[in-house]
Symmetry: C2
Subunit: 481 residues, 2 copies
């Protein structure tokens, strides 16, 4: 990973990759804890951080290392099957926080109800298979993880009179809402989970039968996925984070002092849960991981609506906001968020690095660069890039493993260069244009010059530190730099 | 209270009145606990039971005794003002469960968020004033209780783009849902609270000014009340208990064994909260206490919708269901529920009478008779009756204090007789017809012969014990008696 124009970021992303590899690559069938082995924070527990933040980096850089934590998840299936049964559900309910596979979360509105961890595990399986095509893994681990999580979603959800499929009473990534109906992130990730399970069962009918999967069951999964409800506010023209969210009262950001963040340490949850205030990227996260479910206009409108509500009281937020800020043309903001994700520990931004490193945020630095400024997206067996650099960076270069090949990508301001380092000839997309890559050949494409989109604001006092630019009048955080 | 035709009920209602008076009439500025002084259940705590179940009986039978628990509430105002401030709200937030005025509930989804207790206290104030016209009480206690609770509602709620007023993130009487938006019971009771506070401030402008109330504040209360949002499902033609409720999955009643009730001891709350299953009358309670907000058709449709979802895992349910069953023409069912409320302790129906008597359910026996078969309703300075007896009862007679008079009411099957025992000439309503009562004169009116409405079912296995009738085919609980 080479970053020209910002030595601090270059150093930080090396620091980040070292620690992500340190935490993940040698875990060898153990969980990757939120702090790795660097400190006592979170008491050594693992969360969705592993599958959603750490594994994307490992999958693209050291794919065999990504298989190990998923094999660990698979080893905990008995506990997850048992947990689902306790909850009156089918399939597997993986724990929100855990040491050995048992649920260790006692606070149920944000623990038990955060079912999305199951779809996040499925997403990591799909991503790993996409990168490696490792059929041994799929037969030994992947299929069963997909099948048991799909069963969970089917039993957790239900159809309404109009045939729409709902997932009620869940908590999405944003822990400042809870027990909500039809959280868009959860629903879209569950939709992918259901489809991936049906597809995998189709690939391995013999093994699927061993798990008791028949064609009626896979048809139910596909149908539920097809009819998944996604709440949308027609008047505002934005998706609802969860059903009814945009009708809630706005948090009084102007009346909240800087020393009252993070909010959960200064306000009762009764007050936080019933208002429009977001701890961390939730719908914005859905637009990254399930970008195929949104139009470009929807992404821009949703980003503009949710950005001023998101206080980033979680270190899992900035990197995702960086990715989507870049996609919707907010390159300066994306660059600031890259800085926040990358410098989380080196600058001790949350004043708790003594408790251990934020491994997911460190992984997020890589994500912000590759998915944000590189614009890498995987989707259904294809891979695309939409590179764009902020004015502060002269060059960004990285190597990723996708579709069983290694690709070298180098982006300068006006151009992007793609090189197939090894593997068979491959079609990729560059801004939607198909580009054929043959091993050894270098292909260069122009980067469209997209003007910076009009800035969107953050909650009062919560804009990220600006890196190398000064906000003008009418821009976010004009009073501060 | 005389009940001919059911000696057990006659005996039970005397038992009930004895214990309600025992618990309440000598409390003398102390709280009335859920168990009175009869046992250790609920650790001696008081809840909304006092204002909503016990005080209606005391207000109509021994009104000066009803003033005492309200004076006790008033004495705890400093704690309630402090609690509201802790929660970032204005006015007073009275505790969900308490000994001395401090909140003793630790389980916030069903404790802190059950704000309706504040409107229930206001309702008791309004009811007491309606019965007694006690202006000393209003100036010393009533006005301030109304003002501080109205302030709570105004600060808890907010307007949306269309100007509708919402109360989000609250828990209504039904504790099998929580943290819901626009609970109809809460919204309607808050509406009454806001209006009553504005009216009381209008009556006592000098004193209101001492509490800092000006015309802008009362106008805000009236406007919020006027714009109160009441969610309604147009397709089903029923009100939503709370926003989105009717879209939730139905509880699997057929798959729930008798020994799995009460549900909260056998299923996780995550599962209970996200499904259509009701612990106790909630919307049905709103139709009783705020009957003016519903048409007769709406009441019948709502009752038919919610009755099959209500499992009565709370002893506060049967009496309210008796009242509304009688109003919508389900007289047999009303009679069964009267029996359940009246026999709760004498027959130890919940197998926990050893923990103390269910004082509210005992009060509910009186409520079921007077408000159910007597059809007593108070509304805005008027009082009405809609008497009707189930076939098992030959006669029901009772005396009530209303509008500073004592009325004797005697109902036989075909006729109702009204006598003004003391007080000035009064107009009452008998089935909507104005009847003028002069002291000493007895007025008789016909009781319309209303055919029994088609029966509605209860959740499988949860119908009340039938009293003196056998369900035919196509009727609820046909397999059991």
């Amino acid at each position: 990973m080479e970053v020209d124009g910002d030595a601090e970021i270059q150093q930080a992303v090396r620091f980040a990759l070292f620690h992500v590899l340190q935490a993940g690559a040698r875990a060898e069938c153990r969980a990757i804890a939120a702090k790795g082995l660097t400190g006592p924070g979170y008491d050594g527990h693992s969360f969705w951080d592993t599958e959603t933040f750490v594994l994307p980096v490992l999958t693209c850089t050291a794919p065999l290392a990504a298989a190990q934590p998923l094999r660990w998840r698979h080893a905990t299936l008995p506990a997850a099957l048992n947990r689902a049964q306790q909850l009156g559900l089918k399939g597997a309910a993986f724990p929100w926080r855990t040491l050995n596979g048992d649920e260790c979360s006692a606070y149920w509105p944000a623990g038990t109800a955060a079912f999305h961890v199951n779809a996040d595990i499925a997403d990591a399986v799909v991503r790993y298979m996409h990168a490696t095509g490792d059929m041994t893994f799929e037969r030994e681990v992947g299929l069963e993880l997909l099948v048991q999580t799909a069963r969970l979603w089917r039993s957790l959800g239900h159809h309404d009179h109009q045939g729409r499929f709902h997932l009620d009473g869940v908590t999405g990534p944003d822990e400042y809402s809870a027990i909500s109906d039809d959280n868009v992130y959860t629903n879209l990730m569950a939709q992918q989970n259901l489809r991936a399970a049906a597809d995998a069962a189709e690939r391995h009918p013999d093994l699927a039968l061993d798990f008791g999967v028949d064609d009626e069951e896979t048809a139910e999964w596909r149908d539920a996925a097809e009819r998944m409800n996604l709440p949308y506010n027609e008047v505002l023209g934005v998706h609802e984070q969860s059903n009814g969210f945009t009708g809630h009262q706005l948090w009084d950001f102007a009346g909240t002092r800087t020393d009252q963040y993070p909010l959960m340490l200064h306000f009762p949850y009764f007050d936080i849960y019933r208002k429009q205030v977001i701890k961390q990227a939730d719908l914005v996260m859905a637009m990254y991981l399930r970008g195929d479910a949104f139009t470009a206009d929807e992404k821009a409108r949703n980003f503009a609506y949710y950005e001023p509500l998101t206080v980033r009281d979680s270190s899992l937020s900035a990197c995702v906001q960086a990715v989507m800020a870049a996609e919707v043309g907010q390159l300066r903001l994306a660059y600031d968020y890259l800085g926040e994700a990358a410098m989380m520990d080196l600058s001790d931004l949350e004043s708790n690095t003594r408790d251990g490193l934020h491994i997911a945020s460190l992984a997020g630095a890589w994500i912000a660069l590759v998915a944000g400024f590189g614009g890498l997206r995987h989707c259904d067996g294809s891979v695309g890039f939409a590179p764009k650099l902020p004015e502060q960076l002269g060059r960004l270069a990285f190597t990723v493993q996708v579709l069983q090949r290694r690709l070298r990508v180098e982006i300068t301001g006006p151009e992007a260069t793609y090189e197939l380092v090894d593997g068979d000839t491959l079609d990729i997309e560059h801004y939607g244009e198909t580009v054929t890559l043959k091993q050894g050949a270098v292909v260069t494409r122009q980067v469209p010059q997209i003007p910076e989109a009009p800035p969107v604001g953050q909650p009062a006092g919560r804009h990220p530190a600006h890196r190398g630019w000064t906000p003008g009048r009418h821009e976010s955080g004009a009073a501060e730099t």
